[in-house]
């Protein structure tokens, strides 16, 4: 197993109290596998990714429990300097908004070359040559001429390609992509996703794809983990989940995708709002919004992740009903 996150817990200490952003998350990714982490904003998906990368804003963020096993080593037990050497070299991250995520005052060439000079001790000249190669590889036209351009001189799709190039630079074994296509046009989205999937196959990397877009997930992911209020509520191979969700939240998400054959009808929406992370309701965190809720045990006990099938889990007491209903 490439990455194995066990019972991860992350808290943020804020003025309004302690926000429980991640509450016992289990995830695993193999080499060559794509895991989609699906959830609304505030569900803890980005915080989980940041905890794995070791780039949580701390304070106020803090990992309070669990293990992050990467190639068998628990990252949480490593010194900061050891984690830094892993970051960028063995696991890399792609962010949502490439314009704000790239340094506006440095050329893209300098930002790419930096990976080689810092992690590999290469000379500036060699690093620059590698930067051009990378830009070629992510299919940026006229890479040699554009290596000294600044981020704002590129289009949104090209900028995201540069982010991808930067993540790929040292051929890491794991890439975490945090909503990599959210800020892009739909046509560009597909190109960027294809590029990412192609490079993943080539390098046999594990890919964690964080998204709230069910459309993106269906095309590229092998497995899906659905997050709600800092917990995994359902985890399944992608086709099983689409065919028959085993959690009412997942079912709600699937039902709210607009469909052409329902044109003119009102879109389905899950009623209510996600809970505040400083004040998660007792019992199942989804119970105030759940159409299948029952007073017991939903409002009193936190459901564990029940095994629905081999390789499939649901954190709902009534998953069988959900699956067949």
């Amino acid at each position: 197993m490439l990455l194995d996150v066990r019972d991860l817990r992350v808290e943020f200490r804020t003025r309004d109290g302690v926000a429980h952003a991640v509450n016992g998350v289990n995830l695993s990714v193999d080499a060559g596998e794509t895991l989609a982490v699906l959830g609304e904003s505030g569900s803890g998906k980005s915080v989980t990714a940041q905890a794995v990368m070791g780039i949580l804003d701390s304070p106020p963020g803090r990992v309070t429990g669990g293990e992050i096993l990467f190639k068998g080593r628990d990252l949480l037990g490593l010194k900061e300097e050891e984690r830094r050497r892993i970051r960028g070299a063995e696991m890399a991250m792609i962010f949502q908004d490439a314009l704000s995520s790239l340094n506006p005052v440095l050329t893209v060439g300098a930002q790419l070359a930096e990976m080689f000079t810092v992690h590999r001790g290469m000379s500036r000249k060699d690093a620059r040559a590698r930067a051009v190669e990378l830009m070629d590889r992510v299919r940026i036209p006229a890479a040699r001429e554009r290596v000294d351009d600044y981020p704002h001189q590129f289009s949104g799709g090209m900028r995201q390609r540069i982010m991808i190039a930067m993540a790929m630079a040292l051929e890491p074994s794991l890439i975490i992509a945090d909503e990599p296509t959210t800020a892009l046009d739909v046509t560009v989205q597909a190109q960027v996703m294809d590029l990412l999937a192609e490079l993943q196959r080539e390098l046999d990397m594990g890919l964690v794809l964080i998204t709230h877009d069910l459309g993106v997930v269906a095309d590229v992911a092998d497995r899906i983990a659905v997050m709600y209020a800092g917990r995994i509520v359902e985890s399944a191979p992608v086709h099983d989940l689409y065919k028959a969700p085993a959690h009412p939240y997942t079912r709600g998400l699937l039902a709210s995708i607009p469909r052409l054959d329902q044109k003119g009808r009102e879109l389905y929406a899950i009623k209510g709002l996600p809970p505040s992370l400083t004040d998660i309701p007792p019992g199942c965190p989804f119970n105030p919004r759940c159409p299948m809720v029952r007073d017991t045990p939903c409002r009193t006990e936190v459901p564990p992740l029940f095994e629905v099938a081999a390789d499939r889990g649901s954190a709902c007491f009534f998953w069988e009903e959900c699956l067949h209903g």
């Binding site: 780039i55 892993i86 506006p104």
Partner: protein
Amino acid sequence: MGRYVIRRLLQMIPVFVGATLLIFLMVNVMGDPVAGLCGDKECDPATAAQLRREFGLDKPVWQQYLTYMGNVFTGDFGTAFNGQKVTELMSTAFPVTIRLTVVAVLFEIVVGIALGVVTGLRRGRPVDTAVLVLTLVVISVPTFVTGLLLQLLLGVQWSWIRPSVSAEAPFGELIVPGLVLASVSLAYVTRLTRTSIAENRRADYVRTAIAKGLPRRRVVTRHLLRNSLIPVVTFIGTDVGALMGGAIVTERIFNIHGVGFQLYQGILRQNTQTVVGFVTVLVLVFLVANLLVDLLYAVLDPRIRYA
């Protein structure tokens, strides 16, 4: 970029003419320049008229201005009433003030930015609060109080420095005066850097730099600082002009014979030529400093490109 510079240089002309005309008129309204020439006694009317003719003071003011400006552009700033050429005064005063300004700006850059970075990265911690209170004190206390106090303590009580600077004004003797001159700006630079660093610290590109596995030092210097210094550079650049002309108080306290000192003497003795000459040069310094700041801005932030 070339066109932008030319446009800016052209824009400088009306500003220059306006500022110098204003100072020329003000000095002329100030009083009869001839009056001061005969010592405490009043001038004999015949002598006064003779002097006026000699200096061209009997002509209309606009004509005087044109003659003066014409001379300035050939490098002739006129003669003070004591017979000393104004250019001669400048050649002794400006090097001294430039040295003082260099010391002051170095303090602003080194101490101000360093404190700003440290406090910006540790916002809300004890270091931050302590430095913040200190800057507030420095900003609130007038320069002459800080200057006199340091002169008294370091120069007179403890004899660490010479209480007054010698005529040659070497760098070594200008350290404390430079610190006094810089003090208020230093406090502003600290606060400006602190705010800028604290703001940019949570920026997405800083997070990217960390996610790339760059050492903390490199994240701060190469990624965070470069972006945060843009407003600070602007401030320091404009401050150079202000420091050059605004050293009057500091130069008086430490008896430094620089620009401020000469201006003070010139105003006191109604020495029109000296005052107008020095102010003209200061106006130029200010304009050039501002232009350089604007150009530096484009170097620091490539998103700004002048057409």
